[in-house]
Symmetry: C2
Subunit: 261 residues, 2 copies
DNA sequence: ACCTGAACACCGTTCAAGT
DNA sequence: ACCTGAACACCGTTCAAGT
């Protein structure tokens, strides 16, 4: 239920690949991965399945197109021009005071530029939790598609600007991309995670609390580290945590490669 | 076709959760994610769906159990008892002094221990490509399950041994875990990747060649970096590449935290 | 307690037919 | 060229019924 927003312009616009992709994003955002079905799509677009299949080969291709569209928009725009009122702002968190601070102004150092790209992807995944899985699939299964090169390029250019020797470009860029996508993805699904056998989590704080508590109850013999770390899970600010990890990888790159530590 | 291996002990053993998990792993290994269906499972186990549902709540729980079983076996065993010397040792980055070297002998430094755990997961994903996606899902959607703590613990203990200050345990361990899972996952699907609109790839060398060629044909204006890096993709050794990236993250950790660089 | 198997609701995809 | 919509094969899941 509740999946019946807009249904206005039935035949105002003709069907097109773009309109299909747009509708698919809306369905994914509203109901997650399982919300995107050809049934729901035909209903929303007021057509039959055949019409959609004329513009798109199959569901996999549609998911690819959807992912590419969101990534392209993200990397073109940079991080949050923060789309106005999407929910109750951000949890704010104790986070850093200034940090990359600069909103409008483009980053000045390569490190800052990488942070900006990373934050852009982080926020895109935050807004579209389904994106994490799709990106992982694109990266591994379809590296010749356009989304992998796009992400690689936007981060790799800055790696080059870091004066990393060319022989290490691929390794350094890969490490950054894997961290960014992994960490952002982990953060993602939490927000909208549905019910599970453990209970139902409405908001993120409660979710983290559940995780933290579960970890604290692990066997002290087998899980001393995880137990010790459980408390850090509870209070942490996601964005902060994400950027700290990124700085770790950046530090590794400069430590191994930079002329000057 | 060809999915009809063993069908011997129809009623030799009673149905059990373990037998179901075992059969599920076999199906996943043989035919990938889409190969695991309750139909195929009932056929292989010579029962009806109801019997399976008596031991397992639903497909998600089954996938969770399957993932946990493989991870538990992997982390208990350590990396490849296996497959002889694959490739020329390590690139010997400038990093640590002695490097691991040791095969049989359990790792001596925390870095080596982390490399061992990482390699174990790398190889598990290599053997079970479907594991990459499942692990990502477990990490993000189900961190209170047992697989997340298990991975976290095995890597985190070594982070602690690295004399990282406690306030950074979570960040450092997260960065490592994300890198390991992301990089191993990227490597994974390639091996068995089926056909796509670009063609059909039987073996890995051909796959990499396709990717490399596709990247070389990108617009020089928009993708200078990716084009420049395309060649490195072709020749590289996966394991090598994987360990280099890991060393990058390790270098970042020691650079930021270690009493001694 | 454990298993059977028919049945249900739903899914991606096809295709002859229309305009 | 673009769209319709019935139909197909298949899926996860349920449940009355058996032992």
């Amino acid at each position: 239920m509740a999946t019946r927003t807009r249904r206005s312009q039935r035949r105002t616009e003709a069907l097109s690949r773009e309109r299909i992709v747009e509708a698919a994003v809306e369905l994914l955002d509203a109901a997650g991965e399982s919300g995107l079905t050809f049934r729901a799509l035909t209903e929303r677009l007021a057509t039959g399945p055949g019409a959609i299949y004329w513009h798109v080969a199959n569901k996999d291709e549609l998911l690819g197109a959807v992912t590419e569209a969101v990534v392209a928009a993200t990397l073109a725009a940079g991080p949050a021009t923060s789309t106005a009122p999407s929910g109750p702002a951000r949890p704010a968190g104790p986070a850093g005071p200034s940090r990359s601070a600069g909103r409008g102004a483009s980053a000045d150092s390569p490190q800052d530029a990488i942070r900006a790209v990373a934050l852009g992807l982080f926020e895109a995944i935050e807004d579209h939790p389904w994106l994490a899985t799709q990106l992982a699939l694109q990266l591994s299964r379809n590296p010749w598609g356009s989304v992998t090169p796009r992400i690689f390029e936007s981060i790799g250019r800055q790696v080059r600007a870091l004066d990393v020797p060319e022989s290490s470009w691929f390794t350094a860029t890969s490490a950054l991309v894997h961290y960014v996508l992994g960490a952002a993805g982990q953060n993602a699904a939490n927000g909208a995670s549905a019910d599970t056998d453990t209970g139902t989590h409405t908001d993120r704080a409660e979710f983290l609390d559940t995780v933290s508590s579960a970890w604290e109850e692990l066997d002290p013999e087998d899980y001393p580290f995880t137990r010790a770390v459980a408390d850090q899970v509870r209070g942490h600010d996601d964005r902060e945590q994400f950027l700290s990890g990124l700085d770790l990888v950046l530090a590794g790159i400069t430590a191994l490669h930079s002329p000057r530590g």
